[in-house]
Symmetry: D2
Subunit: 481 residues, 4 copies
């Protein structure tokens, strides 16, 4: 398994194809726009090598029997799925934010592991063995893989082939001798700057007429024809600053737009091509582990919010006592999203390929909770932290150090702790709640509205009406069942 240094070296060697602010980023490991997320992802390698964290961050490959990064494993049991939620919670603890350049890729691997199995069973294709081969090598090379369900979908009331612009979803534009050529885009992909490869799968279910859109493959991040533009996020310009106004250097979230301009994919990296019949299942297989594990993510950030709030309250010179009820509420929020992910894992089922699929009802309930509870936790962190934390209402690092009046800033910001400690704690809360540390947990992995649709479809209302009729004495036949 790779060391953090080997991981970073691998990124350095890649072709520069990532842009931000109109600038081509020559080295993602050192450029201000991307270095923090690379540092965050590097911690995965660092902790995987620590004996006390090995159980969380690594596991045994079901393909090779070797010890591998958990992020490259096939999830085969409830325990594997719970370990997923635990690892993500831990990663948020260690980085303060999302390391999405690995988790989405991992979901993609598992979704397509099951889907390639189904395709081979159904159509006699050889995608599954092809995928196993690639995955064994990926595990051996210990690479970082981000994932992309393709968008942007254009006018959502119409299928891809009915769009004014056929590129509104990614599609095959040419079939060549030893591969395919694809065109389109992925908007909003997390952590791609920290990835070695990108795993692509369809973003929704398609029908026959759209079979060119039924395509899945994996490519190096620096593939010819692929252009990557990093999106903005709150306070992103601070990342180029010195000092502590951008308080976290061990983690950071980036989101990017991918533009595929006639990219060639060799056959051995293609895992679906035209099999529209399985696209809906592929999406669902992707969604379930994602939506159960995301509860661990937000709980992990919630842990940090609790700690930061308490740290600042103490720096403000206040005792813990008045915040007890509020901290308990934060803890309840954290454990509820974490726990619902555990429950979705426990209530799941095994796919014939061996992949463990979380329970869709509980996973989607969790998605809705993730779209509400962490927001309350944020507000509570700001409530405890006081005015300086709420909007980061403190002079800048430069002002803090200014020769003319920096001593005044420090004099009046000092409370129970030295001014710098108080400022750092407040900047951390700012970063977590209105700054660069905010993960896109409302819409990441799909919107809460989409989750509610699945909840509806998985809630058997007629069965519940039957229960009511039986109890109300309304159905003799029912009563005798």
């Amino acid at each position: 398994m790779r060391t953090p240094e080997q991981y970073k070296d691998s990124l350095k060697k890649m072709r520069a194809n990532v842009f931000k602010f109109g600038e081509l980023i020559s080295d993602v490991t050192t450029h201000p726009a991307t270095r923090a997320t690379v540092e965050g992802h590097a911690q995965i390698f660092e902790y995987a090598l620590k004996p006390e964290y090995m159980d969380v961050f690594t596991t045994t490959s079901s393909l090779t029997g070797e010890r591998i990064s958990r992020y490259l494993s096939v999830i085969r049991s409830p325990d594997d799925m719970m370990a997923n939620a635990r690892m993500k919670r831990r990663m948020f603890n260690l980085t303060g934010t999302c390391t999405g350049g690995r988790c989405v890729g991992w979901n993609a691997i598992n979704a397509m592991y099951a889907t390639t199995y189904d395709m081979d069973e159904k159509f006699g294709t050889e995608y599954h063995s092809r995928m196993k081969k690639w995955l064994s090598q990926a595990q051996k090379d210990d690479i970082t893989i981000s994932g992309a369900l393709t968008d942007p979908k254009g006018d959502r009331t119409k299928p891809p082939s009915k769009q004014d612009d056929p590129d509104m979803s990614l599609h095959v534009v040419e079939t060549k001798d030893k591969g395919i050529v694809v065109k389109g885009a992925k908007v909003m992909i997390c952590g791609v700057a920290a990835a070695n490869e990108i795993f692509v799968l369809p973003g929704m279910g398609y029908s026959q007429v759209d079979s060119d859109y039924a395509v899945s493959f994996v490519i190096p991040r620096d593939m010819e024809g692929l252009t990557i533009v990093e999106a903005r996020h709150p306070s992103d310009l601070r990342e180029g600053e010195d000092g502590f106004d951008n308080p976290v250097s061990m983690g950071g979230i980036t989101q990017a737009y991918l533009f595929f301009e006639n990219v060639f994919i060799p056959d051995e990296r293609v895992f679906m091509k035209g099999e529209y019949e399985v696209t809906q299942d592929a999406v669902m297989s992707f969604i379930m582990p994602y939506r159960s594990a995301i509860g661990g993510c937000v709980a992990g950030q919630g842990d940090v919010m609790m700690g930061a709030a308490l740290l600042l309250a103490r720096a403000n010179g206040l005792s813990d006592k008045p915040f007890r009820e509020t901290l308990t509420k934060m803890s309840i929020n954290n454990e509820t999203t974490f726990g619902m992910g555990i429950a979705a894992a426990a209530m799941g089922r095994k796919h014939p390929s061996g992949v463990w699929l979380s329970d869709p009802l509980l996973a989607n309930v969790n998605k809705v909770l993730v779209a509400t509870l962490p927001y309350e936790t944020k507000v509570l962190a700001q409530d405890i932290g006081g005015g300086i934390a709420e909007t980061g209402c403190m002079p800048s690092y430069k002002d803090f150090k200014d020769e003319r009046y920096g001593h005044l800033v420090q004099k009046y910001l000092k409370a129970a702790s030295p001014a710098e400690e108080r400022v750092r704690a407040a900047r951390l809360i700012e970063w977590l709640t209105v700054g660069a540390g905010i993960p896109g947990c409302m819409h990441g992995g799909g919107s809460p509205e989409g989750a509610k649709l699945i909840i509806r479809s998985k809630t058997d209302l007629e069965d519940k009406v039957k229960l009511a009729r039986r109890l109300a004495g309304l159905d003799d036949t029912e009563q005798k069942e």
Copy 2:
């Protein structure tokens, strides 16, 4: 395993010692005050014999290898604990309410199974083998056991021995040759009228000076010296009425007060006597499975609320569509409490005795959720149901059938369904939300405030502060860990 009829016969044979409204109830299986809860409990026996429900309601005894009621089993694994939550959800589906005369006893068995093991290890006593013997016989006889953590505790700022009245907690008043004599009371015990035996254990942790209060035992419900007075509950007088104003006959909840006036307990039924050191653990071992499984209970009642609300909306002549969002919210509430119980089971640990103990943090988070979410679900059921459901605002059954004006009542209550169907649906919602079907889920098994205390003690705040310090760059030592 017993049939429902055998179960009811066993109750009929017992000594009459249950009172309500100043009246001694001669037969709990037929008296209006208790028959509904007996019918509810009888369904456990009915469904245990159905092949399609066998997995839910029965299991294999870890003591004898025989098939037994799950309610008499030792919970030995996460799966056992999850089956607990599932069974309780199903029982609420089948009865509309709580069958507490079994579940509390079951928790008591498991708590004392672990505690007797600990005592024997620590003190060289023989409680554990004594308990196994009794339990094997109980499993064989397939009896119904309710449970009692003794109260009422009096002035809660003082321990039992400092109370003005020494009987404020149950205690040993005399040790005899072959047994002990106890005095005191249990206030609010659920479903005791439907039980064959009662399992008693301490209601809180005691210190040495209160060792007379450290006592646990199991007795027949009709023991000499034990007087039982049933408490009231909403609309309880309707239980003596004919007609459909008390809509549910297949289930009902009762709660009683037990008065022990120098009751003799033979030694073979005594499982603790003076070992104050383990009382705190006994209580905690009781609380954990209780507070995780209770999420299944309220989810099960929530299922019925959803069904009843939709049934009534349709009877009111409305389509399902405007209620979609509300029903989804109800479903989210149900699955959240159910799921958190599953998670507490999954994250638990094995006690050396073999008992599986749910995770205390998640179990207590669930207790707090159970004290809030089901109340929202109730309000939503009333929201959907309309005015007639909200407070049961319909003329009585007698008026419905009155010769003079009953036809008018029926004429004007008819909507999309016949008047009777609409009334029965509305009466069911009334029963569930402001009537006799309400389980005491706020304080049953302890108050939410108590749960918050445990949440606090199980939430490692200092660890979270450390995470925050590390991210904020505040602790060089921490960063190098």
Copy 3:
């Protein structure tokens, strides 16, 4: 102005036409089913005579200049409307529940005061002077008037004339020389047993084809042809019991069904007949004051819940301190619904007739708040009160006094207060939260869904989009406005 005794005497003299449980109630002032609500309404007369409450309960007639009951006044200013909310809060304080037999009638008077004015302006009718004449006399006689927006409406997707049964809304079936004959029903009318007269107006807007349904009038409660059946409510059978299990004797809520079987209404009591064009406005004029003042009602009950919860907590032997946050939350809920009613009054407008109309947006926002916040307040009251309050889990009064074991009940229910005080406090919470004291605040005066429809129609979304476009720099024309 009348004394309470004169008021009760007036009820005694009326023809018996109220039924419950198949029984004709010969005297509503003494029968268990109705006496409590009569006592509640009697307090209005009692307090109107107390100098310190005169400002709340009485005002000066705009018609005669005499001092009259506020419940019979024309609401002419924001201050009048705020006094409405304050009086209702006070009445809930004094009775613990709703005295709907006056407030709905008062709303009806005001709605039709405005509507008759409009009709006379528009159609040259003489309804307004007719109404003034009747109202002057009503003020002089100081009578109690309940109000009825007619239902039950049948299949709500169809107008009255398209119903299978033409009687599904109240309608004129015959026009006679000196009056009209009406047929139909009103389901769920509050406090009618305590009323001298009943004011009827249309329950929704009608079109021309349904002009027979456009009818409004006022009649004595004991009019020939009118049959009244009281509906049930939670624990209503306790009202016939002795002792303190039905703890409140100074107030009580009743709801009834009215059946009009060809009732003759003399012309001088008819205030609308066929003018379908104004029916929608009449309903809206009714709804606005109702939905703003109802916030005072639930705040008044919330006051009692706070007091009862604290009373019981103290009786349980607990200090106030741990409940501080919860009590503050209850107070916030109370003041929010009360305050929103005040705001709706302040933001209202004057109708040409002189009637003050509350702001429809704020009034309907309050209706939605009333359908949520008081439910939370209830749950908090149960939270503070503990297990005995939650479902009234205490032995009955008969058991409390039983010669054989009543001393045991009392011994073990005693805590910081004597057992009876503790029981009475707990019974009060039971009565308020799951008992006979529950007002129908979710659907009373229309459902929250209906309120949301009005909120939508009164929220100018396009104006808000304009504000956003302007700020986002999207509309040059807008920017230059």
Copy 4:
């Protein structure tokens, strides 16, 4: 009254004493860090001159009878106070955010108008006439005044004189012939860069030993000895960018730290000096109007959030329908905080000086609502807006316009609207919810915890217990009251 240009000219003429990022800002009207807030404040002058807005933005001076800016008026009636809430709502509509450089000063004027009156009555001083003189001139000159309750208070468990550093609250360090010299700081003062003068009053109640801290005065913003350092806020570096990534140019919020280094205040501008006895009242008189009007502020921003969310949803190609319930919820939140401010105004009382004081209970309830409801509104705006709005997940303006790949960004961001319109709408939501437009509504004007303390003190719990005792039949004396 001044034109926007005259207002800006007055700022240009002032001495430069505002710093940010270590840089002295030579012209606050053009510097990126302050120009947006100046533009926001300039709109007050612009709209005050528009006939259709005159009633909102101006009023008649109670001192001179001249038409003046409402922001310089003495609030003398409920209507004045409601106009306050309405003006603030409108200002948030026009600027998208807070123009705190006027509202806090206005509150300070009113608080000290009442307090100087009290001091003159009590101590025979002449502060009130001195203040009237200054205020008349301020009204005539139509100046902009920000306000400062002095902090930072240091260790909050100790009074100022017990602090290690005596400067932890602002205090008089020397009394001179014609004035006083003060030292200390104000941390977090809103909009001071847009102000002509600053009104200072005590930040809490003091006792005799701290009488040097009992000081109030008003000074020009550019006074000698006063140094101002602007604090950071989310994404503040974008304010120096071109393009639409910082979408709002018509408004902006700034918060600063003031450092008073032995500043001389001439006597005619001193309104309190040593009268510690009135400091508590001064603070309370400041808080009440602030906490009721702030509901208008957040409602005004909520209006923009609704508009922006709907604008973006339409740009995303979606119909309004699925968002109806969510928009209604947002509207309810907006109107609840707005309405509670109106209610606090309506229920207020007149101070002997003529100042109208809002009701403290309702005003503080509103403060707590303002600390919760707008946060939910934000989350709902993000929910409707979709992933690009949540964290502003779109490439930068530079990337949008890039010659190499800008066309790709635009191609794939186009949906129902051109890409730029969609981006601007999303950037506006970002700005409002996680960007530079966030007002500090949680802690601005004091924390919600402080508000809860006042709610507690203004909630008469014993009176509520009395109500409960009376209803429960527990107090014969009470019943006979």
